[in-house]
Amino acid sequence: MTTSDQYRDSEQLLLALAEQLKLPLMHISQHIELAKMGKEVRYEHIESVADMALHLIDSYLLSRQLSQAQAELQFEPVSISSVLQGAAERLDKIAQEYSCDIELHLSGRYAPVMGHRKSLEAAMVSLGYSFIEAQQESGVRKPRLVLGAHKSRWGIVAGTYGNHKELTNDMFQRAKLLHGRARQSLPTFGHSSSAGIFVADSLFAAMSGKLHVSHHSKLSGLAVTLAPNPQLILV
């Protein structure tokens, strides 16, 4: 990727992020206005949307630092189960606000992978946030977010899944070309700029991973395939 490509990519990601951040800021502003009108202050909600907005900003900054090689990636043996568990815990509050159930699907033992734990968890949280936000619009009575991993012939597939049957690889690739230029680059997925997905994509790309459409337990979602390193089991 040339410097101008990197700059354009960074600018598009920033535009998508700016669009996305309008939502949590409006939530906070309106809750305060409602409190002034005599309604009960929902501190839990204000806290969870503010935390998620800060997470998105931090994840964006991390992805930029990694892609511009300002931060050296300290790869380490990482347990995918632990990464998904950590992401689920961080998403718990915002999921409750959107009445979305979080499920962890970990089938069996996975060999450790070489990765950057902080970036992997940040990417999973960003992905999960976009899925939670998008599911409220799908008309599903009981929205659910599955953070899951399964083995495939290419490695361990780890990602976030929900009721998004219409999500295809073609659609995702088109959305990657459109994000930052179109307001809704994934229109059938959700109404927002889905910045969390593109931030996650950027984080995985910095770790030489590739976000792709995946299926898990009859659900569709986005995942990354990580190659296990059997030697790490002996470490």
Binding site: E97, Q136, P187, T188, H191, S192
Partner: protein
Amino acid sequence: MKILLIEPDKILAGNYKDALEQSGHNVSWRPSAQSAIHQADSERADIVILELQLPSHNGIEFLYEFRSYPEWQDIPVIVLSLVPEESVTGGAKLFEQLGVARFLYKPQTKLRQLVSVVNYLEPAVV
């Protein structure tokens, strides 16, 4: 007044509903254009509040469909959107053609401003 609120974000919809109901209005919330058409079909609204950025169909498509039915042509529509008016192809002229009574840019519209605009608008005479 009976208000049909078309807003994809559940939390924002709840806030608008709270503010409008406190002012004595009756609000039906729908998150998508398709579900809003069904709602409008089952219960006539006095005013429609519409976000343009919706999942699947966008708000402009909804407006074209909504205005194509004679019984809904005179219902005032307030566009309350994350998209600024000048960013929409056709802009103010298009919204005038589609019978949009007011265009409000959501991030800069306080709840009390929305309530004032709704209170000011007269419902359509059936």
